[in-house]
Symmetry: C2
């Protein structure tokens, strides 16, 4: 099957959302960060993913975030926008808006409150959203992140959605970290645009025919990840991946959104990075000091 | 500590939300069902709980559901309203509205998308909501349902919230089914208004000093549960509980919202009960036939 997409392969970053002291969005800082990611070699940006605190914003706030990023001149074919909510009318509204504003792709969580649901119920949710949006420009990437959503996409469900909506359901962000799941999808749905949820699996994903990665930590590691992507078929690919993996591993065990924000404060001195919406919460200064020292030991800075 | 509340002790039902064919709310059927529950002995109604498919509705839809039920004459001191969303501004908006419309209590889920969060982040979420609502009539009942929300309320967090917001954080719906958790809270916070999440634990909860139950299955078992509550200090209490438990146990293992809706279709013949929002999905007819027969064997009907 051919999956026509406008989004490029490569390295996407699940963009952080800088906030003001009153926890409203700092649009200037957000658009500056998007531009910084692209100018440092990023192929695209996931706006309103888990790392971007998407689910801590209202629908209206999310619509405004989309608008402001588009208006700042970030090209639509570099933008994947997260729209998956628990209530399908919310998802449909966000998705329609993102498509109309030119977003090249939509990243869709499954509805994540109700557990104990079967594939039929999940499929019906996608039916309702896709029919409500009713736009041939719609390109959906399924957001598989069972550790956070608690609702995995089973391989049969993915295959059914692809079969039912060819040209619309075109890819997946696989944040499970479970290589066998990715491998199964890549084997069963050749050409499906799979992005690993971590740059740790970037080279492996590309060699297996996947599209790239969409990662939280590439907010920081973007230059290294982009360099690996530019050279993934070159001799130095393995050693680039090895070094990237070492840096990425320094973040293991930390809640990523707060520590990434706090590290950006370390690197830039801008206190705006210290604002975060609950339930996410800043980590102890001592924790950040250790992480910071470990990154320095690896010779890493942004 | 004294917990002043306007909501009564006793049996609350996590009210089903009847829908039209296009999945919009059937307000006439909803208010009729609320009245039916109260006229069959129910002490109160939880509007927009898990069973009411709260998280499958937009904020605007939830506001309208609240309004229509109030306008239909259901007294505020019988109404507990579910308002907990992932984004604290949504929760604040719904909560403010519910309080202003006279709801006697607010049932609040913790923000349930982000996992790996600590008590400090959860406490800050409640701070933001309580300060935004800023109304002395606000009475919060914490919604502890780890199997669904994946975010448990730890006992230290509950105690901190009660200490910080005395008179505001007044109770809990404990749907964990974990008696030791309920016992711990009842022992550590005497007088705290704990409702068990199932009528199976009604008598035990009352004897331990708890407030009652808030249950999905009392949509059906309301008369039996109400009879037990009226007689919980009488000789026949244990046998009433035993019979109630037998009926409740017939529902074990089924997803409750769809099977309750489907059983109401069986009992009333009204096809409106067969509409449900995804990701919840109707169960196979064969499944309902078995459940229906098991209930008949127990001599149960609404």
């Amino acid at each position: 099957m051919k999956f026509n997409t406008t989004l490029p392969n490569g390295v996407f970053t699940a963009c952080l959302t800088p906030l003001k002291k009153d926890l409203s969005v700092d649009f200037d800082a957000l658009t500056a960060h998007c531009k910084w990611l692209l100018s440092n070699g990023g192929d695209g940006i996931l706006l309103l993913g888990t790392t971007g605190e998407a689910n801590s914003f209202t629908v209206e706030e999310r619509l405004e975030i989309m608008d402001k990023v588009i208006e700042a001149g970030i090209p639509g074919n570099r933008l994947l926008m997260g729209t998956g909510c628990c209530a399908y009318p919310d998802t449909a509204r966000l998705t329609k808006h993102a498509v109309e504003r030119g977003a090249g792709g939509i990243l869709m969580l499954p509805p994540f409150y109700y557990k104990q649901v079967d594939d039929a119920g999940l499929a019906r949710y996608f039916d309702l959203v896709i029919n409500a949006v009713n736009d041939e420009r719609l390109r959906i990437y399924l957001y598989h992140f069972p550790q956070m959503s608690a609702i995995p996409f089973s391989t049969p469900l993915v295959k059914n959605l692809v079969r039912q909506y060819p040209g619309t359901v075109v890819g997946m962000k696989d944040s499970s970290g479970d290589w066998s799941h990715m491998e199964e999808i890549l084997r069963d749905i050749p050409g499906f645009k799979i992005y690993a949820g971590t740059e740790r699996l970037l080279l492996r994903t590309l060699r297996q025919g996947g599209a790239g990665c969409i990662s939280a930590t590439t907010n920081a590691t973007i230059r290294m990840a982009a360099e690996l992507y530019r050279n993934w078929q070159a001799d130095q690919a393995d050693s680039l991946q090895e070094h990237l993996t070492r840096v990425r591993t320094a973040f293991d065990g930390y809640p990523l959104t707060p520590v990434l924000k706090q590290m950006f404060f370390e690197w830039t001195g801008d206190p705006a990075w210290l604002n975060i919406r609950p339930p996410n919460a800043l980590q102890e200064k001592e924790t950040i000091k250790i992480l910071s020292e470990n990154l320095k030991k690896l010779g890493f800075s942004i």
